[in-house]
């Protein structure tokens, strides 16, 4: 096989002292998609940037070679080329192009996208403005931009997220590069848009025959797009194999850990997740020997901690860097190698009895104001006519694309927004009319965990004061009582009690989220609303938090409303799921029902969009085009009608009501006649 880029012994140093990447070997094959996988902080992005010599200050390549095979057969060592040299500029955008996670910051807001696409073209080829325009429009058409001739003259803010991503891809591909580096290009996108972009990248790769280096932390995406996979940990490749081999037969404990910690939708999606303990240490504190050994359950004190790891070739292009496969393999007993699964959790609780929280016809509209006297000129209908019950001890998942109103619903329930109309009952309290003691009880009984653990903890306060605030404000608790409670909570969420004296900036994201959860639990609540509580965290940390939340639920009898856009997480943690679209619940039912037997076309499309669903195999994929309707415009009929593949004329006139049996409701006029596809029961993670 021809290799486009061969990286040997690459070393990238920051600030002259810290090696972020240390002795990395990586071959990027021509005409294939290589996925680079790992948690954040493993050096994936910086490795990709080193290929283009665009590492951010104060980092630099301090050793090794990056050999790029030129079209004429000669070899260029990028590591030895000056970043500012004309030769390097020729490579950038010409031979190797790059796309990013955030197109809004990658594209200039001051120029039209056409301007930026043709600039890339004119820099590398002698070509007139007119021809550049024709080529640019053709490129936009190829990347599936709707109405390319008109979009060519659009500015970035006039495009939707998916369109921006397409524009950025067009800009990268205009010079027909031989290698495309895609750095988490779909991470910031909604799942349905992500599916479209992944399809597009796959198609373009097959058509043009370019090599793709695709960086991601999502193994579902890997299954969807990769030909080969390289797993990276702390600046080194620890395992490398063809995609099918790696996903079905992972060897390295890190790869196994990543796979075990990923919420899956195949097989039993309620199966407990197994998190890799701890987190990626900063490169300055890289452990000696095998750098993964402190988190590895196979690690043997006598060697992993001090003997450096060598790569072992297992045949069939499968390479692994682990002592358990090396010359000392006999020291690792067979028993330790098979990862034991945690005990299965109790079967999902049946919704029964009197609801803890009961919502009827809830509306929340945000006024759009304009003019000097701030008159109301319109309203964003964020939450529309929502009715649902939450039963004691269960977890209700709220899922939907961004802008569907799920967060607003959660925040309205907890009291951050005042509902416009409707009825909310908590236990025996009328939430909307509660005052005085009742309001106080609501404040302590319904608590919230925010998405961003950095923003939700006041940086000026010690952890003790943050957690204890709710006790200080509500009721008479002495300082000693609060101190004791805080200590108890900290150990309950898996933190050392002496962390109480510290400030939030001393903690990592996962630890901060634990503190945020401890704060939510401080007042012994009955209901906790978790607003994307794990979305900002790395996979393994996310799994640690999910597992901890499940344990806390079992111990304390908590009820959760879990808001997330991640279907895998929702499937894993929820007993029942509500799917939201454009401010309404379109489907509500038990998790099994929603995922195995969806009745609303939107749910079907969401499920189909989850990466790694084996869509390539069937060929008949369901992809949503267009985007969520503008919530400021009043709608007639079903809000999903414009994107629905089963739409009829009746859908555009009648607003479908939420109806069905108690354990499975849907809001689709045609739900009885439609046969919708669901996620498969069997292992679907592997696509090929």
């Amino acid at each position: 096989m021809e290799n486009l880029v061969e990286i040997r012994g690459l070393r990238i140093t920051f600030a002259g002292a810290v090696d972020v990447v240390q002795g990395l070997d990586l071959d990027i094959p021509a005409g294939k998609t290589l996925c680079l996988v790992g948690e954040s902080g493993c050096g994936k992005s910086v490795t990709a940037k080193s290929i283009l010599q665009v590492i951010d200050h104060p980092g630099r390549v301090s050793g090794g070679s990056i050999n790029l095979r030129q079209t004429d057969g000669s070899v260029l060592d990028i590591a030895k080329t000056k970043p500012t040299s004309p030769l390097m500029r020729q490579v950038r955008g010409g031979d190797i192009a790059m796309i990013h996670q955030e197109p809004m910051s990658f594209l200039s807001p001051l120029y039209t996208i056409g301007n930026q696409i043709s600039e890339a073209l004119m820099l590398h080829r002698k070509i007139g403005k007119k021809e550049a325009r024709t080529e640019g429009i053709k490129m936009l058409e190829e990347v599936g931009m709707p109405d390319p001739a008109r979009r060519y003259d659009s500015f970035t803010f006039q495009l939707s997220g998916g369109q921006r991503q397409r524009a950025m891809i067009a800009m990268a591909l205009i010079n027909k590069p031989r290698l495309l580096i895609a750095d988490e290009p779909t991470t910031a996108l909604d799942v349905t848009t992500q599916a479209n972009i992944l399809d597009l990248l796959g198609e373009l790769q097959r058509e043009t025959g370019m090599g793709v280096l695709f960086i991601t932390h999502d193994l579902g995406v890997v299954a969807e797009i990769a030909d080969e996979v390289a797993v990276m940990y702390l600046g080194k490749i620890v395992e490398r194999a063809p995609v099918r081999e790696l996903l079905e037969n992972p060897k390295h404990p890190y790869t196994k850990g990543l796979l075990a910690s990923m919420p899956r939708l195949d097989g039993d999606f309620k199966a407990p997740l197994k998190a890799i303990p701890g987190m990626v240490p900063p490169p300055a504190l890289r452990p000696a020997g095998c750098s993964f050994h402190p988190r590895c359950e196979w690690a043997r004190k006598d060697m992993c901690g001090h003997v450096a790891v060598l790569e072992t070739d297992l045949g069939q292009n499968h390479m692994v860097a682990c002592h358990a496969y090396g010359p000392q393999a006999h020291k690792f007993s067979r028993a330790t190698r098979t990862a034991d699964l945690a005990a299965p959790v109790a079967a999902s609780k049946k919704a029964a009895g009197k609801p803890l929280l009961s919502v009827r016809n809830l509306h929340k509209h945000f006024a759009i104001r304009a003019g000097f006297f701030q008159r109301q000129v319109g309203a964003v209908r964020a939450v529309n006519d929502i009715s649902l019950d939450v039963f004691p001890g269960e977890t209700l998942g709220l899922v939907g694309e961004s802008g569907c109103g799920k967060s607003t619903l959660g925040q309205t329930l907890v009291g951050l927004h005042r509902a416009d109309s409707g009825d909310v009952q908590f236990a025996d309290i009328d939430v909307r009319a509660a005052k005085g003691a009742e309001a106080k009880q609501l404040r302590t009984d319904i608590r919230m965990v925010f998405q961003d653990p950095t923003g939700s903890l006041n940086p000026r306060m010690r952890v003790r004061d943050i957690i204890g605030e709710v006790l200080q404000v509500n009721g008479n608790h002495s300082a000693a009582e609060i101190e004791e409670k805080v200590q108890g909570l900290l150990s309950r969420v898996g933190l050392s009690p002496d962390y109480a004296e510290r400030y939030p900036h001393a903690f990592s994201g996962g630890q901060r989220q634990r503190i945020a959860i401890a704060r939510a639990l401080a007042s012994d609540p009955k209901l906790v609303i978790a607003d994307e509580a794990v979305s900002a965290l790395d996979v393994s940390v996310q799994t640690q938090i999910i597992n901890m939340m499940k344990e806390l639920q079992a111990e304390l009898g908590l009820t959760y409303v879990f808001v997330s856009h991640d279907l895998g997480v929702i499937a894993n943690i929820s007993d029942r799921v509500a799917v939201m679209y454009a401010g309404r619940i379109v489907e509500l039912g038990e998790t099994d029902q929603i995922f195995r037997n969806p009745r609303h076309p939107y749910t079907e499309a969401l499920l189909a969009a989850i990466p790694g669903r084996g869509a390539r195999k069937t060929g008949a994929r369901i992809r949503l085009t267009g985007h969520v309707p503008d919530a400021a415009k009043p709608l007639e009929g079903c809000a999903f009608a414009d994107r629905c593949r089963y739409v009829t004329d009746a859908c555009r006139v009648n607003v479908p009501a939420l109806r069905g049996e108690a354990n499975h409701l849907d809001a689709c006029l045609r739900s009885e006649e439609l046969k919708l596809r669901s996620v498969s029961q069997t292992g679907a993670l592997v696509s090929a």
């Binding site: 900063p282 402190p294 907890v414 404040r443 939700s456 940086p459 010690r462 962390y499 510290r502």
Partner: protein, 381 residues
């Protein structure tokens, strides 16, 4: 020091240490970040020095404000010599040379030249004219000056009445440095009040206040100052003039501070931790004073330190134009009045030296403000 915990895989500060990284509060972090801003630290030291000078000018200046000697009108700066050469070799003996005066009958001016034979010795902690330190401690020692009282000692030269420019510049610091502080303090009260109301209530109130601020900012500053300054009665005591001037300066100065405060309030209101405090059941007063205000206090301090130089410059400009402070009050602006006409500057350029003091003070305050602004949010990296 951070350690890497082998078993949990977590990075944590050593448990037995109660100080260091995780235990440091906001101000400790701000201080540490500020110290890394070299220029800011330098500016801070100069500003500190300037306020020390402003506090005890009587002690630092060689002579008092009242001292004058017409015989030395427009005397040029004297050169300071560190020692003298005698037969026994070089000897440490700081001194200046007295003047030899010749009257040029063509121009009618005195021409001064240094007289190498007449030595004026400089001493430290010398006895000079009596004064009251900080206004109440009687004293007669000066940090440095001529050993014998009354000898000519003009390191920065003399003005038209033969007064020592150095002493007057040192005294000028008292007014010029404090007027900025007082003016900003007055603006700050107005700014926090108006900006806070604007940011808290929002809606129509915010809209009206913001338009008002835009109106005030659109009024040309100098004509407005001139108009207001002209309205100060001529016969009131100098101390009252001083307070009038501070008020005039802050009439325009509060607007930018109000904007900063409003912006902070608006941004802070939507922070998750403020929402969390609301959910904890905190009332508005507790939210503002316990959660919001501490979070942007450091930003306000930085803004304030950047507003002081504007005030100093404004006072200097007003006084220079003759509509601000007037003699007998001595500020740097008042001193620069002497340098109003070109012919005087041509023959006695040292009259501009108080201007150098203005430049140094303003630059130092700007550097300090820059450093503080960078340090105000120590969590950025």
């Amino acid at each position: 020091m951070t350690t890497f915990d082998e078993t949990s895989g977590m990075v944590s500060p050593a448990p037995e240490k109660r100080r260091g990284q995780g235990f440091e509060g906001h101000w400790a972090l701000v201080w540490r970040k500020f110290l890394r801003h070299r220029l800011g630290v330098l500016g801070g030291m100069i500003v500190l020095l300037a306020y020390v000078v402003a506090a005890i000018p009587d002690f630092l200046a060689p002579v008092t404000l009242e001292a004058y000697n017409p015989a030395y009108a427009y005397a040029p700066p004297q050169q300071v010599h560190l020692g003298v050469s005698t037969e026994d070799g070089w000897q440490f003996r700081p001194h200046v040379n007295a003047y030899k005066t010749v009257i040029d009958y063509n121009s009618g001016r005195r021409i001064f030249t240094a007289d190498p034979d007449s030595i004026v010795d400089i001493g430290f902690f010398v006895v000079g004219e009596p004064y009251r330190l900080l206004g109440f401690i009687p004293a007669d020692r000066h940090l440095f000056g001529p050993v014998e009282v009354g000898q000519p000692f003009y390191i920065f030269g003399a003005d038209r009445l033969g007064r020592d420019i150095l002493s007057r510049t040192i005294y000028g610091a008292r007014i010029s440095m404090t007027i900025g502080l007082l003016g900003v303090a007055a603006s700050l009260v107005l700014g926090i009040l108006v900006g806070g109301v604007s940011g808290l209530f929002g809606g129509v109130v915010d809209n009206v206040i913001q338009r008002l601020i835009e109106f005030v900012q659109s009024v040309p500053a100098i004509p407005l100052w001139i108009g207001l300054a002209a309205a100060i009665p001529r016969d009131i005591p100098p101390l009252q003039v001083y307070f009038f001037i501070t008020i005039i300066l802050s009439i325009l100065g509060w607007t930018s501070l109000a904007r900063v405060v409003r912006g902070r309030f608006l941004a802070m209101r939507n922070e998750d931790f403020v929402k969390a405090a609301r959910l904890d059941g905190c009332g508005p007063v507790r939210i503002i004073f316990r959660h919001m205000l501490p979070s942007f206090l450091s930003h306000i301090i930085a803004t304030v330190s950047l507003a002081i130089p504007g005030m100093i410059l404004a006072e200097t400009a007003l006084s220079y134009l003759g509509i601000g402070l007037r003699t007998p009050i001595v500020s740097w602006g008042v001193l620069l009045q002497e340098a109003q006409n070109v012919r005087t500057i041509a023959s006695a350029p040292w009259l501009l030296l108080p201007g150098v003091a203005v430049v140094i003070a303003v630059l130092a305050l700007n550097f300090l403000g820059d450093g503080l602004r960078d340090a105000a949010d120590p969590y950025a990296d």
